[in-house]
């Protein structure tokens, strides 16, 4: 039986015009479908559970809010060991500088380099604190971001961060970022 099916297949491949499917048999030679249908529909709940990123216009920011003063407490509890008492000491990434970016940036600090304040939420909620990522609530995340922005002189001491105020912050060096102009060919860029 198997040999018969194989013979039919060879005949179909050998004789049938390209693109036509053989009647019955193994189905070999048939055109693949537009879609295969493998995989499962994702429910809205499933998407919402994982869709945690935040866009520069604020899309994705959750409800909630936090103040600079609340953020200082979060910082002391969760951040100080890696980023230092004032965000400048390390041992991990330096977060704070008031030094201007003239010819070269003074490090990759939030105030001295980062082009978008929303990135702070996107990154913190996903990756921080490093040993217990995802532990901060939305209010705590807004608060610690408010504190880091305050340390960088980007918001006043009474600032409140939420889904409206965070994307409205104009980071000082956003316009310094330019698209890649390398194209291959003879010009070195």
């Amino acid at each position: 039986m198997r040999q018969l099916a194989l013979a039919t297949m060879v005949l179909a491949v050998g004789c049938a015009p390209a693109g036509s499917s053989s009647a019955g048999g193994s189905g070999d030679g048939a055109e693949p479908p537009e879609r295969f249908g493998f995989g499962s529909p994702a429910s809205a709940e499933r998407v919402a559970m994982w869709d945690i990123d935040v866009k520069p216009d604020g899309e994705g920011l959750p409800p909630g809010s936090g103040t600079v003063a609340e953020g200082e407490q979060i910082y002391l509890m969760h951040c100080i060991a890696c980023h230092g008492p004032t965000g400048t000491e390390g041992p991990n990434d330096v977060l704070v500088t008031q030094e201007p970016w003239e010819e070269w940036p003074a490090g990759r600090t939030v105030g001295g380099y980062w082009p978008y304040a929303t990135t702070l939420y996107d990154y913190t909620v996903k990756a921080m604190p490093q040993l217990t990522p995802g532990i901060l609530t939305a209010d705590e995340t807004y608060a610690v971001i408010a504190y880091i922005l305050y340390l960088n002189d980007l918001v006043p001491e009474d600032a409140v961060m939420n889904a409206e105020t965070l994307p409205a912050i104009e980071m000082p060096y956003r316009d310094r970022f330019v698209p890649d102009d390398r194209t291959g060919g003879s010009v070195i860029r």
Binding site: V47, E102, P105, A127, F177
Partner: protein, 421 residues
């Protein structure tokens, strides 16, 4: 060579001796432990034709004298390790020697539970198991993968290295045969909106590492890869599923891929703003600098090797470009005054490494060896002076300047770019 008078200590004696070492608490550092393991070589028979050999085994091991190792940095959660380029042959990197770069450690993920969510600007948001993905038509392609920070150790005029190996300088480069599903197959399955211009790719590691990728690249040659050099992707490389963007900086090929959001703008994640952007002279910073431009380096002779005597030597190395195929590699043995075309190993695959070879009759005098790659766009691997002129001297990432190796009159090889700047 030390291997010629390798210790004749028997395995049994060694075990006894090493037990003593362990008992005496003499393993104090990782280096001590490595040395101990290195001694664990059974004494070979004087004549292997007179002693029956080993039986078959389920998993092979390297010959006892072959000990290629990745070069690891500090053991921190965000870290990297480098491929021993000077110890490898041909173009393929053994999977267990592929360079590593991760931002919150290597996650422990079981393929049976891993899922890919695809949503956003699509008609049908969907979830795919690994079994689902493997049922789609697959492709296999050989591509290099390189961290955009590779080679950055030889850019700063004041800190030009001398005693640095190809591994330490350029070991964030590896080449594999990758197997997987084109991302466009899956985007067709979910009905991606033709108006979408970007995707966000997100990993399932503890950094939830994520990058925005232009739709043009996704529809061109991006892969959802699950196979590497004949087996499942290793955990360090993104098991069970990674994005693979041929010819682009490695960071954008998100490992442990769990989510693709189809969108119409970049997300501006931390790793495409604060990191992986390239400051330029004039107070600017280049963003979304995805392409890895043409690059090459000699891997032999190179530090820490010493040529024992003058005469015929085969200069070897690797060349690669993210913009297609390497078309030529030139070699200079006199610091760039004269150039000769090297032989390229076939097949020359696009966005893969190419091994080049050049026979050299060394006269025993001090020599500066340089390789210079040319790709199919006509791009010629620049000198460091050309890059300084174009970008300034403090640019990070994408340092593809010509590498220089100095062979001393004593045969000792060091990194020689400092002699030309």
């Amino acid at each position: 060579m030390a291997s010629n008078n390798r210790s004749s200590i028997s395995r049994r004696t060694w075990i006894a001796a090493s037990s003593g070492v362990v008992a005496a608490g003499l393993i104090k550092t990782k280096a001590d432990a490595v040395k101990l393991v290195a001694q664990e070589v059974p004494t070979p028979p004087d004549d292997p034709t007179k002693v029956p050999g080993r039986f078959t085994s389920e998993v092979g091991v390297r010959a006892p004298e072959e000990r290629p190792r990745r070069l690891t940095r500090s053991q921190t959660l965000s870290s990297s390790s480098r491929t021993p380029l000077q110890e490898l042959q041909g173009t393929i990197t053994p999977a267990d020697l592929h360079f590593e770069r991760h931002h919150a450690g290597i996650p422990d993920i079981r393929a049976g539970r891993h899922e890919l969510l695809v949503h956003g600007m699509v008609e049908r948001p969907m979830v795919f198991s690994m079994a689902d993905l493997k049922r789609y038509p697959s492709v296999a392609r050989t591509y290099f993968l390189e961290c955009s920070g590779n080679g950055g150790g030889a850019y700063n005029r004041e800190r030009m290295p001398v005693e640095i190996s190809p591994q330490a300088l350029d070991g964030l480069l590896s080449t594999s045969e990758w197997v997987g599903v084109p991302v466009k197959t899956i985007l067709n399955e979910v009905g991606a909106d033709p108006a979408a211009t970007w995707i966000l790719a997100e990993g399932a590691d503890a950094a939830v590492m994520s990058r925005s990728v232009p739709m043009e690249k996704i529809m061109d040659d991006a892969l959802l890869a699950y196979g590497q050099n004949g087996e499942a992707i290793r955990p360090e490389q993104g098991y069970p599923l990674r994005l693979l963007l041929p010819g682009w900086e490695g960071n954008a090929s998100v490992k442990w891929l769990r989510r693709i959001e189809v969108t119409d703008r970049p997300t501006m994640t931390r790793d495409e703003t604060s990191r992986y952007t390239d400051p330029l002279k004039g107070g600017l910073s280049r963003q979304f600098s995805f392409f890895m431009d043409a690059k090459s380096t000699i891997t032999f002779p190179a530090y820490p090797y010493t040529l024992p005597d003058p005469g015929w030597w085969e200069i070897q190395g690797l060349a690669w470009t993210g913009r297609g195929r390497i078309t030529r590699v030139d070699i200079s043995t006199d610091g760039g005054r004269n150039w000769t075309e090297a032989e390229l190993q076939e097949p020359i695959l696009p966005k893969s490494t190419v091994r080049f070879r050049h026979l050299w009759n060394w006269d025993g005098s001090e020599s500066l060896l340089i390789s210079r790659a040319v790709d199919e766009t006509g791009y010629v691997q620049p000198t460091v002076q050309q890059l300084w002129e174009a970008r300034g001297e403090r640019t990070a990432y994408h340092n593809n300047q010509q590498r220089v190796w100095k062979v001393g009159a004593d045969g000792a090889v060091t990194f020689g770019l400092g002699d030309l700047v």
